[in-house]
Symmetry: C2
Subunit: 452 residues, 2 copies
Amino acid sequence: MSTDPLSSSTSGRPHVVIVGAGFAGLEAAKSLRDAPVRVTLVDRNNYHKFQPLLYEVAMAGLEPDDIAHNVRNIFQGSDTVHFRLGTVVGIDTTVQQVHLRGSAPLSYDHLILAAGAVSTDFGIPGVEEHAYPLKNVPDAVNLRNRVLRQFERYDRTRDETGDGALTFVVVGGGPTGVEMAGAFVELFDTLNDDFARFDTREQARCVLLEMEEHLLPPYEPPQREYTRQVLEARGVDVQTDTAVERVEADRVHLQGGGTIPAQTLVWAAGVKASPVAGMIDAEQAWDDRVVVNPDLTVPECPNVYAVGDMAAIEGEEGYEPQLAQVAIQSGRHAADQIQCRLRDGTPERFEYWDLGKMATIGRNAAVAEFAGGISFKGFIAWFLWVVIHIAKLVGFRNRLSALVNWAYNYFTYSRSARLILDVVPIADDVPMEEEGGQRVKERPETVETHPQ
Amino acid sequence: MSTDPLSSSTSGRPHVVIVGAGFAGLEAAKSLRDAPVRVTLVDRNNYHKFQPLLYEVAMAGLEPDDIAHNVRNIFQGSDTVHFRLGTVVGIDTTVQQVHLRGSAPLSYDHLILAAGAVSTDFGIPGVEEHAYPLKNVPDAVNLRNRVLRQFERYDRTRDETGDGALTFVVVGGGPTGVEMAGAFVELFDTLNDDFARFDTREQARCVLLEMEEHLLPPYEPPQREYTRQVLEARGVDVQTDTAVERVEADRVHLQGGGTIPAQTLVWAAGVKASPVAGMIDAEQAWDDRVVVNPDLTVPECPNVYAVGDMAAIEGEEGYEPQLAQVAIQSGRHAADQIQCRLRDGTPERFEYWDLGKMATIGRNAAVAEFAGGISFKGFIAWFLWVVIHIAKLVGFRNRLSALVNWAYNYFTYSRSARLILDVVPIADDVPMEEEGGQRVKERPETVETHPQ
């Protein structure tokens, strides 16, 4: 029986609070598993999500349960790490407390902020109201529902569905956008067997918009070119040098004129730091990230670290990119620094070790660039991508289940998770105050849709 | 390219409309796959759900996708059977039309009603507001979320959660109630490894209430006794001869006095026919089922059949029970009768062929009674139950995925799907009229909870 993390007095060990169970927070907690500390890992969901594969859930290739893993399960049997389901609503660095909605504040000796990033619309009108983001599991399920439902509507009342019912615009030519676009055209193929009364491959269309000159800007020219060629050969309408001016319910207006009739727009264009970044008194970069010291501490808060997507970490070419590898390495670094400090060691600066990057374009096609200038494209890159992504999923069951789904889809040319299952965005925790000691049923009775 | 099922004129074949893609409707559609008809299979979901395993989803043993199978996938490549996602809002037997929300009515030559059953509260106050039903996939996911969240709340703010936070009352001692109760105590075991700060096996409690004298009333005494013994040995508080008088948010009042403090009540006590049964002018039994002729036609509507859980079919001992086997056989019978009539044959009466029944109690324990008086209990019954249920799941992928999950859970003593993922009950189809030709985003912005 471990001590109660609520009361610091019951244990001599320093209390480390980690906010967020994404790649960074999870890695930090794992790194501290055998350290002489108590760790409370806080997340608003009871699962860790494998973010790089969210698009596969949205595109009916994987199931939500394949990419989500119960956090308590990861730390079963640990006396050091405890999980807390909760939403952070404030941080007080003077008294060293994290405020959670609906329960007593958590006192910390060391704090690691790893709350990640959220979608941002860059102030473009209509994005907030009309675009589908893809940052969490409910987002992915909502998008899957939306896409499948558009096909059902078109099948049922073709003439009434209006222009662009089956046009899906993906904004953002980074890895997520490329992967989404590639998966969209594969989904159209699968759905062609589902809908006998029209040719989905002719009627449905995927447009990929990128405001810069090339897709996958951080990649080398051969990989970029290959990506564009494959996407276009498979039927994606790739438009680079193209920026969105404003979005309406059934059309996208482009900068410099031009309109695309489209009833579904996927926003893979930009992120900003989680609102948690604004809860401490620290400098924030243009995208709200917390600007950190070289050792990842927050200036003037030597016991507070910011890591992963919510940290602006100075690198060789500006701030380090918001990638899983940076998150994992920075989460580990913060954990190491805390241990170092407990031994009265000197803080060390964080150095990102770039292992390389990879993006899949679809069946048998991907691009990869590794350290030392080694690059792959095509089948080999794709195969590496599959192996690495399955290996990195947390837990044997998730790996096996994802493998089963992918193998099934690969050999049958299907996408097996074509289910319309409605999900609420994150119903947060119901605050105890508002409950008034009474039971509150989570099942929502009324669902409001956007009034148009 | 097949003809448009909306216009009867485009095809010489008679048009069969089937309402509901459960066991009965799906079997009817499969039976008509090679018949000289056109079939439109209507359901409000785009998937067939394997209802007998809903409780496993609620108890985090299986994933929603394991028990749900895309309907269009089942009829891929068929020119005869078409699927239509839609909600039936009315039936006009004089002009032979089925009205769907938000699209043109479907004209039929033959109609098979297979809309199943819904939960009923028998007029017991508080059940509607407070109890968790278990009739569809969102129900199961909601219950899973509720149960897992209760443990999180208790872990976080033990003293404030009140009495009965971890008491789970299951009402109804039929197969669903027994299976739920058995799975609850297994879940408590699994969660004990998740929550280090309290003993879930001591704090959590499952109470199974049955108003009749015995659990599993239709089974023989040895099986009933065994079931009760196993449940009690595993820690379920079984209370027979006990009826619910009224339900409050945090307690259950029993008839004849007595109260159980419990914040979560699962309603596995009773069902009535789907509201679709009331859309035709026909006699209805006490539980709203449509009273049918021996050949399953609705009296005075010779081209309308009612089958499965929404049909009151006269059997040897009153109406036939609402079981998957009756649904499958009656669905097939209605399909056969339509083919028979197309050949000018004589209608035949439906005879239910009782293959037997089985119910699982949990790990290594089940009861089974087959035709000819053969019965099993214990490990053999359980093993048969697992094999038969996996074999009956629709589709190779579902079978494999369920097998993987079960095998994993069996050998690790875990329940792998312990995720809190919020789901809306069935967001129906958005009516086109209300959309005003505009896109309506399915993602709900506001979730209302029950005001207490």
